[in-house]
Structures are given as C-alpha cells and as structure tokens.
C-alpha cells in the first residue's frame, strides 16, 4: 500500500465513521454513466447555472436595484450629467469603474444565453431520442418547467439595468399584463406600484431575479438530477446494451474527471465570449425614458420567437359592452405560448396514450425509427424558427436588403404553411433513412471501388458491415398499430367508439415503417447470389 492509498483509505474511513455512508458511497462512486456527447448537453445547463450564481453574486455587490433618479457623474463621458435611475448608474459603475466588472456582466449575460441554448438543445435531444418515455415523464415536466422559468428569469435579468432597451421590454410586458381581461389593469397597477414605469418594479423584480427564481431553480435542478441519478441514464442502442443494463464509465474516477473538467470548459468558453464579444452594451442604449426608442428593439433570443409572434399577429381587438379584449396581444403573447408549453409538458402522456405503449424504456430511439415523433418535433421547431426569424425581421431586412413587409408576410403565411410541410418532409426523410439502413444491413457498405466484371459490366464493391453495426441498426422494435375494438362482443357500438377510432388512427400513423432487416432477409438474399 502506498502512502497515498493509505491517506485515501483514511479519508474514506473518517467519512464513514461519522456518516455511515460507506454502503451508499460504495454503490454510488462506481455508478456507471454511458458516454455520448449529447448526454453532456444537460451538463452545459447545470454548469452555466453555477456560473450564473457565481457571476450574479459578484454583480449584486455593486448593483443598486432602485429607480430613484440620480445624476450620472461616473467615468463614461457621453452620459455625464444626465438624469437616470440608480439601477442604470450602478450598472455603468460596474461596467466602467469596477475592474473586471464589465467582464463579469458579460459572462453573466453570455452564461444566461448559453443556459437557455443548452436547455433547448438538451430538450431536443431528449425529445428526438424518446428519453422522456416511462419512467422519465416527471423529469420531462421538470425540464419544461425549467425552460419556462428560464425565459422569465432571463427577461427579468436583462430588465434590471433599466437602459432604453430593457425599459422598452418592460413596457411591452406591462402591455401584455394590462391586456388580460377583467383583472389586467389591476395586476399591472399592483405589479408596478401604480402607473408605468413607476419606481417599484425594478426593486421588486430584483428580489424575484436573485432570490425567488434561483431558489426554485435550485430545487428543481436538484430533483431533476436526483431522478437522473436514481433512474440511471438512458443509453443509445448498441452491442451489449439492453433495457436491463447500462454500459459506460464509473463515476470514480473517470466520469468525475470528465464531468468536472467539462465544468471548467463551460466556464472557460463563457469567459472567452465575455472577453471577445460585447453583449448588452447598456452605455450605448442610454437610460430609459418612455418617450425614446431605438430602431431594431428586440428581446434576447429566447424571447425573440414570442416577439416575432406578436409582430405577425393580425390587428384584432374586440370592443363590446364598454370593454376591450386585445386579441392581437393575448393570442400571441399569452394564449399561444400557454398552449405550446402545455402541449410540450404533456407530450409524453399524449404519445403513450396514442401508441398504447406503457412499458419502461431505457434504450433510446434513433430519430429515424420514430418518424411520427421526429416529424412532430421538426414541425414545432419550424413554427418556432419562423417566429424567431420574424422577431428579428427588421435587422434581417436591413442586412439583406429585404423589406419588413415582405418578411412579415412570409412569416404570417409561413408560420401556418411551413410546419405541416416540414412534418411531411421529415416523415418521408425518416422512412428513406430507414430504407437506407435496411439496404446497408442487407447489402453492406458502398466502398466507392468499381470492379469490372468478366461480362464487361461495372459494379461497385459492397463491403458487409460489422455484426455490431448490423445490430445497432436493427435492434429497435417496430410496434404494430393499435386495434382497439369499435364494437363490444355483442356487436353493439362501444360508447368510446370515437376515441378508439382516433387512437387507432394515430397509432396507425405512428407505426408506419420500413420493415427492418432481419437475419431471415439476409439469408434469403444470400440464397439468391
């Protein structure tokens, strides 16, 4: 035993003497994690959250969340002598007088953008590979909750400095609140402590931004991770990988080093962005006043699609019985996003209802093998992308010499027409890819080598693929469609006949597939040659 091993042993003993953790630790230190780059997307979110906590705490040391009016006398000449809120002035102070303050502000903002990108990319991975299926539905819902709260938290964050752009954002948020039927103006007056902009909103959202929401985040992330830990990670299909096992590297030491190292990577990349690329240059925006505005006022990207939806909304308002309902605000600002997030959260349940599949799944799907789900995902993505593009339509129009009117009409039509087209194309594409898989297993890989046959004919030499590859391409199951009875035994129509019809129909659409290659197929083919 070397001295080092003795020390390690002593430490382990010391911990166990005081906590009795040996049994738990023994099991968990050797916990196995499957290795795939896409399993690190969630870690990007976790790490950027930690970066956000660290850099955010730094910023609170100087930030003054107050809308009290002050006269700026700091180091940034083009603003000196102007009236502004203490919040804006203290953000300028952090940017220009605190060494490294500007860097920390930029790291904080970039980390927030990376956090949101990470969540979306992670969500897409989980969606397209079917990792949300039983038993992981709870974690999916927590994930959707984190996404929603992330959008809110980000919005509150960039609203705090009280610059011209963020004030414009708050103004729009106030208009959305005010548009809620019946109670809108009351909620707006309570939230703002009176007329917009008032002097209460920023101090209030500050507490929500630095205390309430991070607390909820911390709780949700903890549960999210505990569930991942307890349920063990999913894995991609492959040789030796089954629903009953998990193949990968043990936590101690390999995964610890890799995951720990990846934290530093995420922090390093965030710091790099903070060093080389300016983000939210509030000193250029100027202090907020409701009478000013800048061309191209946009929110951060994760709100951009909402802004895009609001922009493309038709000018609808109902005036009746002395009251007003602004559909042009409610529809794109509250109703549509509400429906989208509800649908997203309920998706695992909708899918299992439609397919009748109530079993546990730990092996992931290759997206092509679930054409319907993949197509639904791409459809939703297309919708969001068109909205997002429209959210930046003025910048795009300006850069590419288009007109905002063209962009707007493209989006208004595209947002309705393109998603179904995307659905159809994706589904076809998935089926072609399945066919390609089948061909690959049956005929082997094209080598690109041409051989001339004695007959003078040229053929390309195909190389058989490995047994591992063949298994990976064919290990998925192809479920037969549901056939729920439309009549009971006595020939009487079921009361739930319509529901069953619908389920049968969805299930038939879901089960469309190119039959996967089998050993029998292979043998038959060999017989031919």
């Amino acid at each position: 035993m070397t001295a080092r091993e003795r020390i390690a042993g002593n430490v382990a003993g010391y911990v166990d003497d005081r906590t009795g953790a040996a049994k738990w630790m023994k099991k968990n230190l050797t916990k196995v994690f499957p290795d795939h780059w896409s399993f690190l997307l969630g870690e990007i979110c976790l790490y950027s959250f930690i970066i956000l906590l660290l850099s955010g705490t730094f910023l609170t040391f100087w930030f003054d969340p107050s809308q009290r009016e002050v006269i700026y006398d700091g180091g940034y000449q083009p603003l000196s002598g102007l009236k502004m809120s203490a919040a804006y002035a203290s953000t300028l102070h952090i940017s220009f007088e605190v060494r490294g303050g500007l860097l920390m502000r930029q790291i904080h903002h970039w980390a927030a953008l990376i956090f949101m990108v990470g969540i979306v990319v992670h969500l897409l991975r989980v969606f397209f590979t079917g990792a949300f299926r039983k038993p992981r539905e709870f974690n999916w819902i927590i994930g959707v909750g984190l996404l929603t709260l992330g959008i809110v938290e980000g919005f509150l964050g960039y609203s705090l400095p009280d610059d011209l752009l963020s004030g414009t954002g708050i103004r729009i948020a106030e208009a959305i609140i005010q548009a809620i039927p019946l109670v809108g103006s009351y909620i707006a007056f309570f939230a703002f402590g009176g007329t917009f902009p008032g002097e209460s909103f920023i101090p209030r959202i500050y507490t929500v931004h630095v205390l309430l929401l991070p607390g909820i985040f911390l709780a949700l992330i903890t549960v999210h991770l505990m569930l991942v830990w307890y349920q063990k990670h999913t894995q991609f299909p492959g040789p030796g990988r089954t629903e009953k096992n998990v193949v990968g590297y043990p936590l101690m030491p390999v995964y610890m080093a890799k995951a720990g190292g990846f934290f530093f990577i995420v922090f390093g990349v965030t710091a790099f962005l903070g060093a080389v690329a300016s983000i939210n240059p509030i000193w250029l925006y100027g202090p907020y006043t409701p009478g000013q505005i800048s061309a191209g006022s946009q929110p951060d990207w994760y709100m951009g699609w909402l802004d895009g939806l609001v922009r493309m909304s038709p000018p609808l308002e109902t005036h009746a019985f002395g009251h007003t309902i602004s559909w042009n605000i409610l529809l794109p600002g509250l109703i549509l996003p509400g429906l989208m997030f509800t649908g997203l959260a309920l998706y695992p349940f909708i899918e299992s209802w439609a397919t009748g599949d109530k079993r546990e799944h730990h092996l992931l799907d290759r997206p092509r093998n679930t054409p319907n789900r993949t197509a639904i995902g791409v459809m939703a993505l297309t919708f969001t992308m068109v909205s997002l593009l429209n959210g930046g339509n003025d910048i795009i129009a300006q850069q590419f010499h288009l007109t905002i009117n063209q962009m707007m009409w493209f989006s208004r039509i595209g947002v309705v027409v393109l998603p179904p087209i995307a659905f159809v194309i994706t589904k076809r594409l998935c089926l072609s890819l399945q066919r390609a898989d089948r061909d690959l297993v049956l005929h082997g890989r094209e080598t690109g080598r041409l051989v001339r046959m004695p007959s003078g004919e040229f053929v390309e030499v195909h190389e058989p693929i490995s047994a591992e590859k063949a298994w990976t391409l064919t290990s998925h199951e192809q479920i037969a469609p549901l056939e729920l009875p439309l009549e009971d035994g006595a020939g009487v129509r079921n009361p739930g006949v319509l529901k069953n019809k619908l389920r049968n129909r969805i299930s038939r659409a879901t089960a469309v597939a190119v039959p996967k290659a089998t050993e029998t197929d292979r043998r038959e083919l060999d017989g031919h040659h």
């Binding site: 103004r171 729009i172 080093a257 890799k258 060093a275 007003t324 009117n405 298994w471």
Partner: protein
Amino acid sequence: MAHEIEPIKDPGLPAHVHRRADSDPIAAQRAERQVAILFGLSAVGTLLLIYSYIFIKSNTSIFIPIIGNTGAQQLGLGMGMAIALFCIGAGAIHWAKTLMPDEEVIAQRHEFRSDDEDRSEFVKTVKAGASAAGLGRRPLIKRSLGVALGLSGLTPLLLLRDLGPLPKDNLQKTSWKPGTRLVTDPGDRPIRPEDLEVGAVAQTLPQLAPGEERTLNNIGKDAVLLIRLRPEEFNLTPERLSWTHEGIIAFSKICSHMGCAVALYEQQTKHLLCPCHQSTFDVTRAAKVIFGPAARPLPQLNITVDSEGFLVARTPFTEPIGPSFWERSS
C-alpha cells in the same frame, strides 16, 4: 406467416481495444506531459489575468484582428480567465481519456416497480390510512376543510393588495388640459406654428407649471409627436381636420398596441412606423393602421394656438392613450 422470422442477433459488448498509452510507456509519458502542459497553460492564463488587473489601464485599447480595437484590460482579464479555466478542463478530460481506465463497465438496472407483495402492502396502507381518516364517511369535515383551504388561499392575494394603488382613471387620463402648451422634448421650449416647416416633426411634452417636476410616469402618457404637412395632403373628417392647425397634426407617441414610442415618421409616404412590432400608421388619415398588429389609430390631440401664438392643446385627449385594457370602452 408460416416460418418464424429470425432477427439479427446482439453480438454482445465488443472486446476492449487497448489504447497506445495502456501498453506503451512512452505514449503514457507523452500523455502525462500533455496533461501537465495544459495545466501549465492554465497557470499562464491566471498570470495574464493578474497582470491585466494590476498593470493595464482601463482606458487602453488594443487592436486585435477580426475584433478590431477593443478595451485591453477587459480583453486581458477575460482571455486570462478563459485560458485558465479552459485549460484546467481540457487537462482533466485529457487525463481521464488517456490515462484513467477506459474499460466500459456494465451495471444492471433495477426495476422501479416494487415486487407485488410490497406493492399490495403499500396500496393497503394507503387505503387503510384513507379510510381511517374517514374523509369519505364524514362529508361535513371534507366540505368544511375544502372551504377552509380555499379561503386560506386568499390570504396571499389579500396581502399583495397593497403592492399598488387601484387604477381608477389613471389609465384614462393624461396631463394634457385645455390650453396646455406643447414644449420641445428635450429643451422645454414652447413652439409656434411658423417654427415648423412643411415636412418637419417635433417631439413634444406638455409644459410644466412652475415648480412642477416631470416624471417618467408623465412622459409615458404625455409624449406627443407634432408633424407638419401641407393642409391639402390631409384626408380627414371635418372634425379631425379642425383638430389640426395650419397643417400641423399632433398624435400621442405611445403606441396603441404595446406602448412603445412611435416616432419613425417617413416624410415622403406620411407613414408612422413603430419599431417594436412594426405597426404602420397613415398620418394623412388620422393615424389609421395600415400594417402590423396594432388595432387602433394613435389618439389625435386637438391643437390650436394661444393668444401669444404658441401651440396648445384645445382639449385633453378624447380617448385613453397607449395599449388597450379591459376597462377601455372604445
């Protein structure tokens, strides 16, 4: 189908392939050196950060290709930090990849469903607990508890009531009164009609009474845009035409959609554009919406001149300005 279809078989976990560093001590040494170099680079990054913090002045800038001129201190601090952190991460990962055991391990999953005995035991306990509490048998308790819980939910709502005043007529009213002068923003100078050429605009606010302070709350409701056209260019109802003065027309600058400042005036087309959501208003037709999501024209302010020849409001706004709300009647 007559014969059984035989699927392709799982060949099992492939045999472990050793890395070069596992068998070749030289390769292992090289990997070790690479890790050490990465950690060393990290230290250099921290030194760069310390140097930048202490020695680079905040107003020095430096030319970097692609980026251009940029603040040197900020760049030094940031790059130092980035290198320091990234290289620690890269070193640790490289270490794990090349020198730590890389044999894949198989762990078995446990089924989440408990065995039938535990499960029926659990179900029984829950049922017994529920019936022991007797909620089903004692409807009075159930109902009164429901009422009590529901009512207690009102507490937070009630306690949040004092967050702000009631709206009252605050959303309906602005500071404009009959005879209020329009003054420039910024500058607070009153304006005569002859100060504006045809095609000119002016950003205005109501003149303050002596001793009065202008708050952002006021600006958010009072901001008005003045535009001068040739009178014959108007296409207005006689009433609205009488609200203009010698071709000068005044609109609330607060968008009727979501409250952004609408002030992008295109002199040739006589269109006003809101930069937030691109609602477009036609000035010649009393700011009628011709494009975009806004559903109502911008409210027009009825203006005239006072005895000294300065532009004033003849009446307050006749409708609430800004975004819609439930209590708005038109």
